[in-house]
């Protein structure tokens, strides 16, 4: 089960997430009269995780509460930087919620209510 800031709350009853590290930052240097370039390493450049999660509530009020947690994290953005643990158990430090988007209408799930969200996490390191 993935967690963010130590809590699995925003991953609801079902989730999938993919993390993509950004390419190493480099400085590209060319020399007059010489073919090709030299790539000088400057350090890592974080990455991005895209998650789809299904939030759930036994009733609409409970679904609203679950969604409020996610909406608050998205509103606060880089004010809530912390650890993301993905569904393979890997820990990614320096992560914040860059955006959270509902991608469907509220849908019944059993006796309760659910909605799929797409979350974009920004990795600073």
């Amino acid at each position: 089960m993935p967690t963010f800031l130590g809590s699995p709350a925003i991953f609801g009853v079902w989730s999938e997430l993919q993390t993509q590290p950004r390419p190493h930052r480099t400085q590209s240097i060319a020399f007059p009269g010489v073919n090709g370039r030299i790539a000088s390493p400057l350090g890592t450049d974080g990455g991005q995780t895209v998650a789809r999660t299904m939030l759930y509530g036994d009733n609409i009020a409970e679904l609203n509460e679950a969604e409020a947690v996610l909406i608050s994290l998205a509103a606060n953005g880089p004010n809530n930087v912390g650890m993301l643990v993905d569904d393979q158990g890997r820990s990614w430090p320096g992560v914040y919620v860059a955006s959270a988007t509902p991608i469907e209408d509220v849908t019944r799930l059993g006796a309760g209510y659910s909605r799929l969200w797409q979350i974009a996490f920004e990795h600073l390191v």
């Binding site: 009853v13 079902w14 999938e16 299904m54 569904d87 849908t107 019944r108 659910s114």
Partner: protein, 149 residues
């Protein structure tokens, strides 16, 4: 006769919601009631089997077949909503104890078919899509005659 082995529909009544003349079909050859859930399957986490199946959207249809094409051509209005009551007789007691009443509403006419081959058994039919009742309740209410505590 084994109970339930025959599907004997004693009557089907189609009544406009909000008033109007009801159409009664006493010789229905088939009342096909189909209820479906558009299941959404969610996978992931290297699991081979689905982690979650959501039965969020449901739909239901009913198709009434009869030998008499006249009923099909009656004044059923596709813009109206109907209540359909179909009674499935008990194999032994007929419309008495054990008979099952299917009360279906609101029903909207979708297909009016007079299909039938020349010089063969006729098979005209009426097909309806069923919506949800108020408060998101099922459009198909089933009661069994004589059932109870």
């Amino acid at each position: 006769m084994k109970a339930g082995i025959s599907m004997n529909w004693s009557s089907v009544t189609i009544t406009p919601i909000g008033g109007g003349t009801a159409l009664t079909i006493t010789d229905a050859t088939d009342v096909a009631i189909n209820e479906q859930s558009a299941n959404q399957v969610f996978r992931g986490g290297a699991n081979q089997w689905p982690k979650l199946i959501r039965t969020g959207e449901k739909s239901a249809t009913v198709r009434i077949s009869m030998p008499n094409a006249e009923a099909v051509m009656k004044d059923l209005d596709p813009d109206k909503k109907y209540t359909i009551v179909a009674i499935l007789d008990d194999a032994i007691n007929g419309a008495g104890e054990g008979a099952i009443t299917f009360d279906m509403a609101p029903a909207t006419l979708s297909t009016r078919s007079t299909s039938g081959q020349n010089n063969r058994f006729a098979s005209p039919s009426l097909s309806f899509d069923l919506g949800g009742r108020s408060n998101d309740a099922t459009p198909i209410e089933i009661t069994v005659e004589g059932a109870g505590p």
